[in-house]
Structures are given as structure tokens and as C-alpha cells.
Symmetry: C2
Subunit: 394 residues, 2 copies
């Protein structure tokens, strides 16, 4: 396994932190998830999750063991500190300053464990005017500019209908933790990583940012159309939508062959400039032509014509796609509390040490005993901690 022998202490909640820790687990790290006794992670209850085991929780927390600890109790914080002392990676998403108040900040942990890679994932970073604001996906989307760039021309900014800002934070944290582990392996030195949803969301936008910062021009919302190239946009078909991406006139000539409408080969449409100059007319003819067959038929014909095209799937259709099936992107495993989990698997393949799913998401405190025993605690001591409400087990 790629990260075999790497111990991760996951103090994070909801999506951005837990998904990152799960990726480390998928690659073989031993991940311990710490939750508060009783309710645990709020993601357990998303969209009516029952048994404290929602499907999104299972999809963001497989390959972890779970311990339930009350961090507000000094003994609880001390136990978690002991776990951090033995960890290669600590991941937390408290508001800045909260981990330090618990004695679990980077300074505390690194003093005892200088090799630790300690990643903080917050809405806005560890300092600055908004440091104390909580991080929400929707708010990071609005502030990063991704909403301002998305939507139909002349219409309001549009939210990406997914937790992309949370996930941007996950992927930035995942990359940075691994890069810091490379450094740690080569030098023996750990460090503190400060990842935030705002900057991570902006890190999905380097090309529009470069264009804006060079020109000073506010980009217009372009909907599903590249306004500089035609046809490079979405078209309705007989049963759905088709994305077409044409980059040059050779491709346009091939498109005319595929579509078989002689009007599209007319002089006024022969160049990109001409098609832009007669856009309404051109678009109407394209729509008429493309309405004659289904998306699947057009995708096949375009592929034979060597033209870049693809379906625009409604979300359920994604999972019926032959390539999505071929890549095995849906993971299935027995998930206590849910019965059977079907969630996204790991997105990339690795020839020597591929990702694997070795255990489902834990119930709250499922491995409390096991983890405390590994810390060297005797059974009577664990029973005392349970009785005192410091730790919890089901």
C-alpha cells in the first residue's frame, strides 16, 4: 500500500477534512477518526441519515477506525494528545485557535512529535480578517469567484451544485500532506500546513484568474458557450444535451460531413468569424440538425468523425456510462448502519500500490477500546474513562 505505516489522526468533521483523511486511508494509511461522544460527526445525519450513518458519511469515512472522546474534558484532550504524539499526520478543521486551547495545536503536538505533518483545514486560513469565520462550501463558492463565473449570460451568479469548495480543500490538503511527508522522509522534519477553502477554491481558477489579472476585465458569464469559438457549446438533441468542442476549420468540415445539412457548408458559415457573425442563424440550423438524433447517436457519430463531443449527463446517467463502469468508480462494501454502501471509489489508479477499501466507515466510538489498548491503557482504566464520560463506546 502506498501509505503503509503512515498513521493519521483525523480530528476533522463534515466533508473537507474527513474526505482528505479517507483518501490517505484508501492509500493504506492507518486513520483514526476522533468524534465527540453521542452525536459524532454532523455528516452522519445528512439528508436523514439513520443509525448515525448517512450515505455521504460512509462515502467520506471508509478505511478509518473510530474513537469517541470528549475533548472538553482534560483527560479526553490528553488521550488525544497521546494519539497525536504517535501520529505521522494530524488533520483538524477547528476554527483557528480552538485546537491550541485544547492543548492540541501544532505547537503542542510538534513539541512532542517534531516529525508530525499537521494540517489545518479552515474556511479562510489561520489568520487574517476572516480567520474566525466558519467555512461553508456555499460561502467559499461565492467568495472565490466560481459562482460569479458560472451561469447563463445576463443571469445571476450560479452555485456549482456540489460541494466543490469543500472538495477543493480536501484535494489541496491531500496533496500538501503527501508533499510534506516526502520532505519529512527526506529530512526528518514535520511542519504545519494551513489550507483553506477560499484559496483552495480559487486554485480551481488559475486560467480565468490569469486572464482577469492581465486584462482587468470582468469576465462575463458565458453559460454553456465559448463566445470566441463556434461551435463550442452545448446543444439540445432528441433526448438530452451534447457538448461540442471544435477548435479549427478542419474539424468544422468534418462536422458538416457528420451533420449532413448542406446549408451548414454555406459560404457564410465557412469560418469561425462567419459563424460568429451569423450566430443566431447558425445556432438555429445546428439545433435543427442535432434534434434529429439522440445524444448517444451523436456521440458515436462524432467519434467516428474525429470530433470532440460528449453527452451532458443528468447525474444518474453518469453511473450508466460504459467508461465510468470500466473504471470501476463505484465502490461497494458492507456498511454497518447502512447495510450496503455504494459510494464513489478512489479516482486514480496506481500500478504498484493501488488504493483499496479495507474497512467500512466506523460507528461512533466503534474502536474506542482497541485504540486505547494500543495506547497501552488497561481494560479497567478504559472502563473508568467510559464511566467518567471521557470516552464512549457503543
Amino acid at each position: 500500500m502506498m501509505l503503509e505505516g503512515i498513521r493519521v489522526l483525523d480530528l476533522s468533521r463534515v466533508i473537507a477534512g474527513p474526505y482528505c483523511a479517507m483518501l490517505l486511508g484508501d492509500l493504506g494509511a492507518d486513520v483514526i477518526k476522533v468524534e465527540r461522544p453521542g452525536r459524532g460527526d454532523d455528516l452522519r445525519y445528512l439528508r436523514g441519515g439513520t443509525n448515525a450513518m448517512s450515505a455521504p458519511f460512509a462515502g467520506c469515512n471508509r478505511n478509518k477506525r473510530g474513537i469517541a472522546v470528549d475533548l472538553q474534558k482534560p483527560e479526553g484532550a490528553t488521550l488525544v494528545f497521546e494519539l497525536a504524539r504517535g501520529a505521522d499526520v494530524v488533520l483538524e478543521n477547528f476554527l483557528p485557535g480552538v485546537a491550541a486551547k485544547l492543548g492540541l495545536g501544532y505547537r503542542d503536538v510538534s513539541a512532542a512529535n517534531p516529525r508530525v505533518v499537521y494540517a489545518s483545514v479552515t474556511g479562510f486560513g489561520q489568520d487574517g480578517p476572516y480567520a474566525k469565520r466558519p467555512g461553508y462550501n456555499t460561502i467559499a463558492q461565492g467568495m472565490s469567484g466560481i459562482m460569479g463565473l458560472t451561469g447563463m449570460p445576463g443571469q445571476p451568479p450560479t452555485r456549482v451544485g456540489a460541494s466543490v469548495s469543500d472538495l477543493a480543500g480536501s484535494w489541496v490538503a491531500f496533496g500538501m500532506i503527501n508533499a510534506a511527508l516526502v520532505h519529512r522522509e527526506r529530512t526528518g522534519r514535520g511542519q504545519h500546513l494551513d489550507v483553506n477553502l477560499l484559496a483552495s477554491s480559487m486554485a480551481l481558477l488559475p486560467d480565468p484568474a490569469a486572464i482577469y489579472l492581465a486584462t482587468g476585465e470582468r469576465p462575463k458569464r458565458e453559460g454553456n458557450r465559448n463566445p470566441a469559438l463556434t461551435p463550442a457549446e452545448a446543444y439540445p438533441t432528441k433526448d438530452g444535451w451534447l457538448n461540442l468542442v471544435l477548435l479549427n476549420e478542419d474539424q468544422y468540415a468534418r462536422l458538416c460531413d457528420v451533420l449532413g445539412d448542406p446549408e451548414l457548408t454555406a459560404e457564410r458559415f465557412a469560418t469561425n468569424e462567419g459563424r460568429l457573425a451569423h450566430y443566431a442563424d447558425f445556432r438555429a440550423r445546428m439545433e435543427a440538425a442535432l434534434s434529429r438524433a439522440t445524444t448517444a447517436e451523436w456521440v458515436e457519430r462524432m467519434e467516428r468523425g474525429n470530433i470532440a463531443a460528449g453527452p451532458i449527463y443528468e447525474f444518474d446517467e453518469v453511473f450508466e456510462d460504459p467508461q465510468v463502469k470500466h473504471l470501476g468508480l463505484v465502490a461497494e462494501f458492507a456498511q454497518p448502519g447502512l447495510g450496503h454502501a455504494r459510494v464513489l471509489g478512489f479516482p486514480a489508479r496506481a500500478s504498484a500500490t493501488p488504493a483499496s477499501i479495507r474497512r467500512p466507515a466506523p460507528r461512533i466510538g466503534e474502536h474506542t477500546d482497541e485504540i486505547l489498548q494500543e495506547l497501552g491503557l488497561a481494560r479497567e482504566e478504559i472502563d473508568r474513562l467510559v464511566a467518567a464520560g471521557v470516552v464512549w463506546r457503543p
Copy 2:
């Protein structure tokens, strides 16, 4: 520097691969970018880039040295093979099979360099029914479901107005390369990483995927509104838009205090259920209340009221935000061919070995001589290769 001493050979073009290689360079890796003589990377010409140096190219290729080699000439491929033999990381985004035909595939390189981490970034992966289709951001967006999830209720699927599928590929590749380097440092073994834009885009969607796969229900496009919670949506203000995210009734009581409209405290709006049942009426009152002040005023009042809220920025406004400025997310450096580059900087901070910008993006073949000299070639031999059109220098 975090990746000091790591040598990266970047054979990739456009955005997904080059941005990933740049991230490695930002963390201290020595990145050599290979381009074809003459035109180089197509991204150099995006949106009318002059001097073969568009702003997006500068934003995706700083911290690299450049060599121009004709890979179609056997001597050119051999030279690049020699660079791969000495690399820790090779990154390529040819269509599957093309690198192998050039003698630069994973098998070829790993036979000479078993420690190499070799990452292929393609549209659809190295095998499967669509393996030979080129990867385009828009097409991956359409097929991953991110467009199907995005847009206003009842309206068409909507493209995210940015290259999020390319960038998802970049960030997945960045994380996987570093994870594979961790493994390599611990075991001495390299491997082949197979990253694709389709699966990487889906890796931004674990929560909607888990919900869909559990329920079988096609998710509706929700626009800027959480249909299960109110108010958790975007509202127009006097001068723009405001995102509000309320999760419970305590927060609603505080919101009523901030808004100061006694009607909003009416019995029928007292619970989430009530607000949903009288949604049209509720929304109209909220719009009336929020239209009385600017977005900035509301953000400040909501922060004082401890309510999660944020502006929805048009893209130019992002760069005026105090937190964006505090985090130093815009990098500026002298960029030959462009004069001065202003592009996005690195999105995360690291306490011991932060990212740095040490050189601008290279001109095509700018370091051809330097790199070939490092390979041990004599000046006369380099001159011969230039004369034969195998390599190129400005």
C-alpha cells in the same frame, strides 16, 4: 523547499498536466518542461497571447525550465528518454499509447529508472471504451455530472465557468505523485499513476454521488437554494448578492434581530417547516429586507450576529477582498514575453518549507542549451542537434 532535489520531467500540455507540474515546482522541484520546437504549448496562445506567452501560460508554467525537442525525430525522443532516466517524476498527457510509441512509455522509462513516479493524465484513463478520446474540460464536465447538478431549477445543465475538470485532474495528479514519492522514499519503488479528467471531476462529487447511489433518485438542479433548509440560499442586495447559510432555529432568531423586520418573526415563519410551507411569501419578505443595504453592509451585520453569510463576488471583486489580499493569493513577477505577470499564487501555506516563485515561465526552448549541457552534451553536439532540427533554442 518541500520538494528540493526532486527532478520532474513535464511532457504535458495545456492546463491539467502543466499546472500540476507547476505546483511541484512551486514546492521546490526542479521541473523541466519539454515543448515541440516552433509553436510550443498551445496554452501560450490562449486568448490572443502574444510573444508565445499568454497570461494563462505564465500562470501554469512558472518555476520551470524549458527545452524544445522534436519528439518525432528518433534523436529527440532519445534525448528526452535520457532526461526521463534521471527524473524522479515524469508527467505526460499524450493519448494512451503515444508515449510508448515514442519509446517514452512507463515500461520504457521504468526499465531504465525503476524509481520513477510516472504520471499519465488523460481524459478517460489508459484503457476502456473511451481511452482514445482526447480530454477536454467541457466534455469531462458534461460526463462527470457536475453540469447536470449545476443550474437553475427547470433550466438546462450548466457548465461551471472555469476549467474545473482540468484542475481536478491537476490536483488529483499532484496528490498522487506526492503519495507515490512517499512510497518511493520508503521502499525505493516507483510506479505508474493513471489519472483522468472524468474520474477526477467525479472526485469533486462524493456527497451527491453517495446520496444518488443510496436513493436512486436523480438530483434536481437546485440553483442557488438549498431546498431542504430556508433561508440557505442567495439573495439580491442593494448592490449585489449575499449567500446565507442557516442551519437551525437559534440562527433564525438571530437573523430576525439583524434584519429588524417584525413580520419575519411571525408564527408562520417560526420554523424551517413553516418557512418552507410559506416559501414565496417568506422569500419576498427576505428580498425586501435585504434590498435595503449593500452586500458589504449585510456581511458585516451578519458577522456581528454570528450568522454564516458571504458575498457572491463577480470575478474582479474577488481580488479586492481583504482576506484574499491578506493571504497573498496573487503572485507577481517579471515575466519575459509578458512584461509583468500577475497570476494566482500557491493556495496553501507551509510553516517550514513554503512554496516560492523562483523563476518565470520559460520561453520555448529557453534552457535547451543548459539542460543538454547538464546531460553531458558538448557544445558542438548541441549545435549539431539544433542544425538537424532535433532541438531548438531561441
